[in-house]
Symmetry: C2
Subunit: 111 residues, 2 copies
């Protein structure tokens, strides 16, 4: 159950999550899809700024945009989120192996 993701993908993923506005947008679009302007209405920043945040989330694969008339509906996609969580879980797994280092000796490296 080793998670194999290119570095750049993970970089963009965690980077995207490292901003409170983006986490909020993600939270909001988890349950409902919302247009960019609908999202932007609830923040202090400009529309363009929110647009950029959505773009960051989109390029990280955390969100998808679908055209509907003149507006673009944004909805979260939990797949990448699950991957990020798996990466963290895997790191934690290493910690648990900390005191049972016999395993490392008994199972020879495969590559």
């Amino acid at each position: 159950m080793v998670v194999e993701l290119p570095d750049s993908t993970l970089d963009r993923l965690f980077r995207a999550l490292a901003d409170p506005s983006r986490r909020d947008i993600l939270r909001r679009t988890m349950t409902t899809s919302a247009s960019v302007s609908a999202l932007a209405a609830d923040y202090e920043m400009s529309f363009a700024a929110v647009q950029k945040h959505v773009a960051v989330l989109e390029s990280a694969g955390l969100v998808r945009k679908t055209a509907k008339g003149r507006e673009r509906l944004v909805r979260a996609d939990p797949a990448q989120l699950a991957r990020a969580r798996a990466v963290l879980a895997e790191l934690e797994t290493l910690w648990h192996a900390r005191f049972s280092q016999l395993d490392a000796v008994l199972s020879p490296p495969k590559e």
Copy 2:
């Protein structure tokens, strides 16, 4: 089981995770503690650069440094990692509530 963390803490956490070198350092120090120079030996970058990465991990609470003679041993602390994972899990939970939006109707808005 709501995760309550100040935004800035989460920012630093995910920010720290958004770099392959830092994730690697984290991985390495999960199982063993290593001095900064021992860590630095395995990367192309300068010692000072590695030192900075460790500092970022430390300020995110992902790593702790303990003095041992002239060297500082770095070891990972999985606590913050678990918190980050919990935040992601909570976000995913929202997704699952997506189709049971009756809840939103039944509980009137509080603000």
